[in-house]
């Protein structure tokens, strides 16, 4: 009979290399049933036995929070392979042993492949495989997969373990937990529906409150009685230990610490990356460092891009002058090249191409250096304390570039409720489209400190996203949070080539957008601005135009925010694309980029303009982002919800800022 083996392990531990070493060319690649996760299986012969191997998806645990974890756990529990080979990275033994303990909890017959032994030695770590074997109670085989070291021994052990009836596993948790596990195990024993499963695993999962296992037990004959008993035990333990899932995670790590202290000799030599992480991820200084790095990036972005934006702005102003009258048709000329013309608006938007390019260049450098992963790690700590998933950090960071990318990237969040929360809060991230508007305003009012003002808006966006997420998690989506485990890559010198490529890609996307959506939006504004409201004929008097009528009609709604009708219209048109806000403003006020800053400084005060920036930051996302929200939530309901809550929040927040500003800082 064929022996069935499952290969389990954390991502990047060399599992696939071992799989290839074992199966050679006899392998098949497909998908797990009903999933888009790759399934690799193969067959080989050893000692006259035919052995089937399946490569399970790489996971850090078997807690069933992600699709990969569900597949791996489901296969071991339901398919019950003869042997589970857990591939462990010897140079990172502590983290890897967590999965080993979870596989042992499942009651699966296990062999541990202690891979990357060469790397462990380089790091001055000396692992005693025999001692590890005694402590775990399962065979441990040292391997170096790329050099095929230990493969023969591994095959021999697989056969040996497959032929044994059962293993005596020696891992035990604290007395209180063992007592509770024992009590639940006794309740579960004898139930035919649950016979196929390890009672110890069921008991641990019931203690953790694992929903899939609770459902499984509910269906059994003794289910109701068992679950009532479990609830009593959980209540008693909770009083002392709090969250039991977390308490059991701590128990596993306590056991891991015990094992490592006995089986590992030497201290891992710390690299420059490790030392740097101790400072950059410091409990108290980590967050100020994160804010400081953001400030440096934005300051650098504004500083470097400023002269180039000014040069581009001059080029557009000169072009407008030179092109005036070129068509010979007064209306078209005025619409395209006049002071309220489309070229003025498009030029205003395009003069910020250097800003967008520099921003993406610096962000790419930071990502390549390895800091973005650290930023996610720092934010995850905060998010988890608030009961939110740390996985939403990645979409948030992507949202800084473009909210659409941010919304689509929420697919990495495995729990549907958490994903919806991340989707509807992503438009609060300050995207590069809004940045264009903010840079002009901040430069006009705060000069050399513009970077700091814009940074405050980035921080406000994150804070509001967390706040809205908290409200949703405490009201609509009550439930537990999916954990987030991430690898922190070593720091490295960033690649200028990668950063430059990224910069050009983004610039070309920006040009494309400027030539399509933004141009069309501004053309509509231009047409409305040059059409007489009573005769529908051409007019150069903007106060008699259609756009002025629309603006005047809407202006009373925004009067408490101190806006004039032109600002109202520009903001409303920003619904199409946020860059239009600044382009339309330039058109409606009839001023170029350079004049625009002076114009704003003369007509508005810093408090009104800060409140305005907050409104633009928060109010309704652009059309494309709304479409993305609808697409990803599969419902108009959430798209409409996003529009409504953002408009209400934007208005209320702006009003509050104005009131506070006027009351407490009358000098500004």
């Amino acid at each position: 009979m064929m022996i069935r083996v499952a290969l389990a392990g954390n991502p990047n531990v060399g599992k696939s290399v071992i799989f290839n070493n074992l199966t050679g060319s006899h392998q098949r690649v497909g998908n797990w049933p009903g999933k888009t996760v790759e399934k690799k299986e193969g067959v080989f012969r050893y000692d006259n036995e035919e052995i089937y191997v399946v490569d399970l998806p790489g996971t850090y645990s078997l807690t069933a929070h992600s699709i990969e974890e569900l597949i791996a756990r489901g296969y071991i529990v339901e398919e019950r392979p003869d042997v589970v080979v857990v591939v462990v990275d010897a140079s990172n033994i502590e983290r890897n042993l967590y999965l080993v303990l979870q596989v042992l909890e499942l009651g699966a017959k296990t062999v541990v492949a202690l891979n990357k032994m060469d790397l462990a030695e380089v790091s001055s770590l000396y692992l005693d495989a025999r001692k590890l074997e005694r402590l775990l109670g399962v065979p441990v085989i040292p391997t170096v997969a790329p050099k095929k070291v230990g493969m023969d021994e591994l095959c021999r052990k697989i056969l040996e373990v497959a032929r044994t009836k059962r293993q005596v596993v020696k891992v035990r948790y604290g007395n209180e937990f063992e007592e509770a596990i024992g009590k639940i195990e006794r309740q579960l024993e004898g139930d035919k529906a649950l016979e196929a499963y390890s009672t110890r695993w069921l008991a641990i999962k019931l203690l953790e409150g694992d929903e899939a296992v609770i459902k499984k037990v509910q269906r059994a004959a003794s289910g109701g009685k068992v679950l009532r008993e479990v609830e009593e035990i959980r209540k008693a333990l909770k009083r002392k230990h709090g969250d039991l899932e977390m308490a059991l995670i701590n128990e596993r790590y306590r056991v891991i610490k015990y094992i490592v202290e006995r089986a590992v000799k030497g201290e891992k030599v710390l690299t420059a990356s490790d030392y740097l992480d101790q400072a950059l991820l410091d409990r108290y200084l980590g967050m100020p460092i994160f804010i400081s790095i953001l400030w440096i990036i934005f300051q650098f972005t504004f500083i470097v891009s400023m002269p180039f934006s000014d040069i581009l702005s001059d080029i557009f102003a000169i072009s407008s002058e030179r092109l005036a009258g070129i068509t010979g048709i007064a209306r078209v000329d005025y619409l395209l090249f006049g002071e309220y013309g489309v070229l003025n608006g498009v030029g205003m938007v395009l003069s910020f191409v250097p800003l967008i390019m520099t921003l993406y260049f610096t962000m790419s450098l930071l990502e390549d250096f390895g800091y973005i992963a650290r930023a996610a790690f720092l934010m995850d700590k905060v998010m988890r304390k608030l009961g939110l998933t740390g996985r939403s950090i990645i979409p948030m960071i992507l949202g800084f570039g473009c909210n659409i990318a941010g919304v689509y990237s929420t697919r990495i969040i495995p729990v549907e409720e958490d994903r919806i929360v991340a989707i509807v809060t992503n438009p609060l991230m300050l995207c590069s489209a809004r940045l264009v508007t903010f840079v002009v305003i901040a430069a006009a009012f705060w000069g050399s400190a513009a970077g700091s003002v814009v940074l405050s808006l980035y921080i406000l966006g994150i804070a509001l996203a967390v706040l809205v997420a908290l409200v949703l998690k405490r009201s609509v989506f009550k439930g537990r949070v999916s954990p987030f485990i991430m690898e922190l890559p070593p720091y490295q010198i960033p690649s200028l080539k990668v950063a430059t490529t990224q910069m050009w890609v983004r610039a070309s996307l920006f040009f494309k957008k400027a030539g399509t959506v933004i141009l069309l939006g501004l053309l509509v504004v231009g047409l409305l601005a040059t059409t007489d409201v009573s005769t529908l004929s051409f007019t150069q008097d903007i106060e008699r135009s259609l756009v002025a009528t629309i603006g005047h009609a809407l202006q009373p709604i925004f009067a408490p925010l101190n806006w004039d009708w032109r600002l109202v219209v520009a903001t409303v048109f920003g619904f199409i694309a946020k860059e239009i806000v600044i382009g339309a403003s330039a058109m409606l006020y009839g001023v170029s980029e350079e004049e625009f800053s002076n114009f704003l400084a003369l007509h508005y005060d810093p408090v009104t303009m800060y409140a305005y920036m907050v409104f633009v930051l928060v109010y309704v996302p652009c059309v494309a982002t709304i479409a993305a929200v609808k697409h990803e939530t599969l419902s108009w309901r959430w798209a409409v919800f996003t529009i409504i809550y953002e408009i209400v929040l934007a208005y209320a927040l702006s009003l509050v800022i104005l009131l506070i500003g006027r009351t407490f800082f009358p000098g500004v």
Partner: protein, 164 residues
Amino acid sequence: MRRRVLYCGALLGLLYVIYGVLQVYNGVVSWWFGSDKLMQLGVKVFETHVPNTFPDPFSGLTLITIGLLFLAALYHSMRGFTRYKGYLFAAWLLAVTVLVLNVVEICASFLDAYYPLLYGGTPNFEWSLAVDAWGIAPHLLLGVLALPLYFDLKDFIRELIPGL
């Protein structure tokens, strides 16, 4: 690592914290209370101060953070923890980064003022180190003072940038 390095780091740490606090204070009184009575700690040269602690709370927070990293290095070293190396390295990296930022700002402002001369125009504005808020800021002066620490941190730096 030699004690001299840590003491130099600690002195730099104190200076960074002091100038950071001044920037936060100046930012608060200038931005939120509209006052032009700024606190300066430096030598007055022509119409500006050297260093010029221009009002900017976030810039101040950055200086304070760098200062605290230097001081944390001293703290961990005194307690015998090797982690002080990481704090000193991080502080130095940030100090050099804001020094570069200051230099880039000076170049960018200069370019912004005088680029119209390239096509025969008149300067956008008259620029000099004295009128530029970032002209000779604490970021520049303290960063220059921190540069010699390179010789004590070069092993780390070479690990990140092989071949340097």
